[in-house]
Amino acid sequence: MKEIQTDLLQGTLDLLVLKTLQTGPRHGWDIAQRIQQVSQDVLRVGQGSLYPALHRLEERGWISAEWGASDNNRKAKFYKLTAVGRKQLAAQTESWERFTGAVDLILKTT
């Protein structure tokens, strides 16, 4: 399978992380796995960009972190969306859709 080891645009990664967290709190590894699964292995998030992104989002107050127990009872840091983050997710989703829609239009015309 061809996988896209993208250097995802920074804003894109942020959007993916926010979206992933919409369904509930997850820890970093889980987020990476989830993105990989849902994108059917097309998108792989390198840890080198994931954690700085998480900390950046946390710094902005869009997500918050909390230490908790993972599946096999190990200590892990769980991230969840804040109210601000939820609003951001909605806004960014919308602008992303508009963007891709516009790109689609251009690609499909002519």
């Binding site: 970093g28 590894w29 840890q47 080198g48 954690y51 700085p52 900390h55 710094e59 200590k75 840091k77």
Partner: protein, 892 residues
């Protein structure tokens, strides 16, 4: 808002709980790695592969960490803290260096801050008055003086006829006898127009101040206390408001206290009472003495010139209308109150600040040289750090952090030192500075200290930092054994510039101090005109009630003088109304001709009433005629009263040596000039200051004082005793005799004439001492700088010198090479200093006496001193260079 708080909290956490954050980051990443390994294992890899692949895909743990840290947004501060921590370690490892720098800076910044806080309070801060720029001092201008007081009718005319002044208020000094407690006390006070405080816009610190109604003669007399007197006499008790004081037999009610920052025009005045012009017997008398001074507030929008010409036109009218008393009065001059208050100390204060600033600059350049030397010792360290990836910026920042830390320490210590230094300065200052009660440490002073520290940091630290960023670090690493060869040239140039600067600055300072020393010597060479050795002077105030007229005063004089004369150890006794060199001034107009001359011919003379023996006691020689004797009394009313004039008066107005027997008219009373006959010519005496030109003096016998002058005489008179041994031993006897003659006499102080003389030059001596201390400090610092430079260059040139010695250079040659290098710098510094000194000493012309700003003796002496000191400073290391062992230096 919340967002900001949230961020702030996070930033603070990032700064102060860094280890916690680091641990969490570590945990988080480790968890991720473990999950990754788990997954790889689940995929069927063995343990080792699983781990290795996980690690590889992870892409460098430290990089991730570093990026996560960046997100925290406090990287800059973190690095700064790192720099500071490192600096603390470095500085603690070199306590000698650190202590030297901190102490030097503390002294330099402390002295600067102390003097600045004086300059700030006295010169820079606005006077504590409402719109002070509108307030003017009012002086009468005359044909013979351009700043004279005026009469009460003058003032009333100014007040009632002007169109340009919002308000005007007059005042004069007055001495009052305070009775009520067991002993009578003499109080210095001021009579002031009751609107004075309203005019100035000052508020009471307790009770109220005088209001215009207090001038009303129908109201009970009121008084306000000066803050100082309130503290001193009443311990700051607010209950003092409403208290009664018995002053000169009248009851005054204390209505309030002046603010701490307010000085009455007479600094020693303890209280102010209303002028009450309607009760003053002189209010109609246009020929009375000019005893009033005044301040005025201009109407909004009126310029000083407009007000001056307005008031001058009043004087013109007066002259037309009243004639004679106004012949000499030409108009009115307004001086801004700031000028009037601080004008006479301005130059001295700026000079002191400039001088102490130069000392700081010199100290800083020494420290810069020290830092340079240290930098070259750390060349190796810096090279390694650079090789390991430190950026130039980071290295420079590190050096700056060290310097900042040092100057911060020095500045803080200096600031504390300054708080104490200001007090010391004021305590040592012989004369009270104007506005000294406003001097203190405030925000401006704090800012100044901070600024001085910052400047010091830049001067001390910029050069070495610059050098560190510029120099080729790689070479430092390669040539660690021949350290100093690569970077020597430019570093030496920096140090040479520093030494030249030091030499020229200290030369300027030394010239300044030298000129003041020469001025002081000039004052000491001045002959005061009397013999101050073995004499004691005592100032007396006689209660007015007991001595209402001259007969009573004469009787008192006879009684006391015979008693004092009888004291053991007393050689002679005399009395004078105003002692030479004592504070105070008494001048009268006189006409150097007999009857029939008009008032327009009048001149002004120093006026003294003396006892017959006065000239003998003071050893003032008589050039012609006779001294007063016991026959010159008021009972010889048929004969004109007699007078003695001084040589200057005689030679100016009686050039044909015909003074004796001539008549002059003196205006020492309220009814107009009266004739006196000259019976003697005394040699000149310096009455006001050793630095003044000869004055014109007229002496009259105390026994013939005009009745109008009795009050002034009883208010204050001085008795002088010449002793056969130590004059101080006479004191108990004098006090005893005074008490037995009249126990109500207030005797203020007993002092030797010598102390009066030395007090008269005390301000000069004080300025001189400060400037001398500063310039000696500068000289020592410069010498240290030269010593350091030459030692350093000897150390640096050791291999070269070794070769020279091996090739046959004589010790003398080596000595000359090394010392010559220092002398060249001194020479350049001297030339620059000369230029600077010529320019700057002109500004302190007003502080000089008996020397010119380019006094050759001072310039030659200072240059020689500087050359000798610098040669000495350079000779030590140069001598050491001659003792080098060529073999050893070459082997090393």
């Amino acid at each position: 808002m919340n967002g900001i708080l949230f961020k702030l909290r996070r930033r603070l956490r990032a700064l102060f709980h860094k280890s916690e954050l680091e641990r969490e980051l570590e945990d988080e990443l480790r968890f991720h790695l473990e999950k990754e390994i788990e997954q790889n294992l689940a995929r069927g890899m063995n343990q080792e592969d699983a781990r290795w692949i996980a690690l590889r895909s992870f892409g460098g743990v430290d990089q991730v960490k570093e990026e996560s840290r960046d997100v925290r947004g406090v990287r800059f501060i973190e690095e700064l803290l790192q720099d500071v921590r490192y600096s603390v370690r470095v500085l603690r490892r070199q306590p000698g260096f650190t202590i030297t720098v901190v102490i030097t800076l503390a002294l330099g910044i402390g002295a600067n801050t102390a003097i600045f806080s004086v300059v700030n309070a006295v010169l820079l801060r606005e006077l504590p008055l409402k719109n002070p720029e509108e307030v003017m001092w009012v002086w009468s201008t005359r044909t013979d003086r351009d700043k004279a007081p005026f009469t009460l009718p003058d003032f009333l005319d100014y007040r009632d006829q002007n169109h340009t002044l919002e308000q005007v208020a007059a005042f004069c000094n007055v001495g009052l006898n305070l009775t009520g407690s067991e002993k009578t006390e003499r109080l210095q006070a001021m009579r002031v127009s009751a609107n004075l405080f309203e005019l100035l816009g000052v508020d009471a610190s307790a009770g109220r101040l005088l209001v215009p109604e207090d001038d009303d003669p129908a109201r009970r007399p009121t008084a306000v206390l000066s803050y100082e007197s309130w503290q001193k006499r009443f311990g700051g008790d607010p209950q003092v408001v409403g208290k009664s004081l018995n002053l000169d037999g009248e009851t005054y009610t204390v209505v309030g206290v002046l603010p701490r920052t307010f000085n009455l025009p007479d600094r020693d005045a303890e209280l102010a009472i209303p002028l009450r012009p309607l009760l003053d017997p002189l209010r109609e008398l246009r020929s009375s003495t000019n005893f009033l001074r005044a301040v005025a507030r201009l109407k909004p929008g009126v310029t000083r010139q407009q007000a001056e010409s307005d008031l001058t036109s009043i004087v013109a009218r007066q002259r037309q209308q009243f004639g004679d008393p106004y012949l000499k009065k030409t108009g009115v001059r307004l001086v801004p109150i700031y000028e009037e208050t601080v004008g006479n100390v301005r130059t001295a204060l700026w000079v002191l600040l400039g001088a102490v600033g130069m000392v700081l600059l010199i100290a800083c350049s020494n420290l810069a040289a020290l830092s340079l030397a240290r930098a070259s010792a750390r060349y190796h360290e810096m090279s390694i750090r650079k090789a390991l990836g430190a950026t130039s910026v980071r290295l420079v920042r590190q050096l700056l952090a060290e310097n900042l830390l040092l100057t911060l320490l020095g500045g803080a210590a200096g600031f504390l030192l300054a708080i104490w230094g200001v007090r010391l300065l004021l305590a040592l200052s012989p004369t009270r500075l104007p506005r000294d009660n406003e001097i203190g440490v405030d925000l401006t002073v704090l800012a100044f200290a901070a600024g001085a520290s910052a400047l010091a940091a830049v001067v001390c630290g910029a050069l070495p930092a610059l050098q560190a960023s510029r120099s080729e670090m790689r070479r430092g690493l390669l040539s660690s054994t021949t350290r100093g060869v690569g970077e020597g040239a430019s570093r030496n140039r920096s140090r040479s510039i520093l030494v030249v600067a030091e030499v020229s600055l200290s030369f300027i300072l030394l010239i300044g101090a030298g000129l003041l020393i020469r001025s002081f010597i000039s004052t000491q060479a001045v002959n005061p005109g009397f013999d101050s050795s073995n004499t004691l002077a005592v100032r007396l105030s006689l209660p007015k009630a007991n001595y209402p007229n001259r007969t009573a005063v004469s009787l008192f004089y006879d009684k006391l003088s015979s008693r004092l004369q009888a004291l053991p150890g007393v050689e002679s006794v005399g009395a004078i109304s105003l002692l030479p060199m004592s504070p105070g001034l008494r001048v009268i107009p006189f006409i150097p001709k007999g009857q029939g001359a008009s008032k327009g011919d009048s001149f002004v003379a120093q006026y003294r009433l003396v006892s017959p023996d006065y000239f003998r006691v003071m050893k003032i020689p008589l050039r012609q005629g006779r001294a007063f004797d016991s026959h010159d009394r008021d009972d010889r009313s048929a004969v004109a009263p007699v007078a003695i004039i001084n040589e200057t008066l005689a030679s100016r107005f009686f050039p044909n040596n015909d003074a004796i027997g001539a008549q002059i008219q003196i205006d020492d009373n309220n009814t107009g000039p009266r004739p006196v006959e000259i019976v003697g010519v005394a040699s000149d005496v310096k009455h006001v200051s050793l630095e003044d030109k000869p004055t014109i003096d007229i002496y009259l016998p105390i026994a013939q004082v005009h009745e109008d002058g009795v009050g002034a005489l009883t208010n204050s008179m001085y008795w002088v005793l010449r002793s056969t041994s130590d004059p101080a031993a006479l004191e108990p006897g004098i006090r005893r005799e005074l008490r037995s003659v009249d126990k109500d006499i207030a005797s203020a102080d007993l002092r030797t004439l010598e102390s009066y003389l030395s007090d008269s030059v005390a301000p000069r001596r004080f300025n001189l001492r400060l400037l001398t201390i500063f310039s000696v400090a500068a000289l020592l610092l410069a010498a240290t700088g030269i010593y350091g430079l030459i030692s350093y260059s000897v150390a640096q040139r050791t291999p070269e010198l070794g070769i020279r010695l091996a090739l046959g250079a004589s010790r003398k040659n080596i000595f000359r090479i090394i010392l010559g290098q220092g002398l060249r710098l001194v020479g350049v510094g001297l030339v620059l200093g000369l230029v600077g000194a010529f320019a700057l000493t002109r500004m302190i012309r007003s502080l000089m006496f008996g020397v010119t700003p380019s006094d050759p003796i001072t310039f030659v002496a200072v240059s020689s001193l500087l050359i000798v000191i610098t040669i000495a400073a350079g000779a030590f290391p140069a001598l050491r260079a001659t003792k080098l062992d060529p073999l050893r230096t070459l082997r090393e």
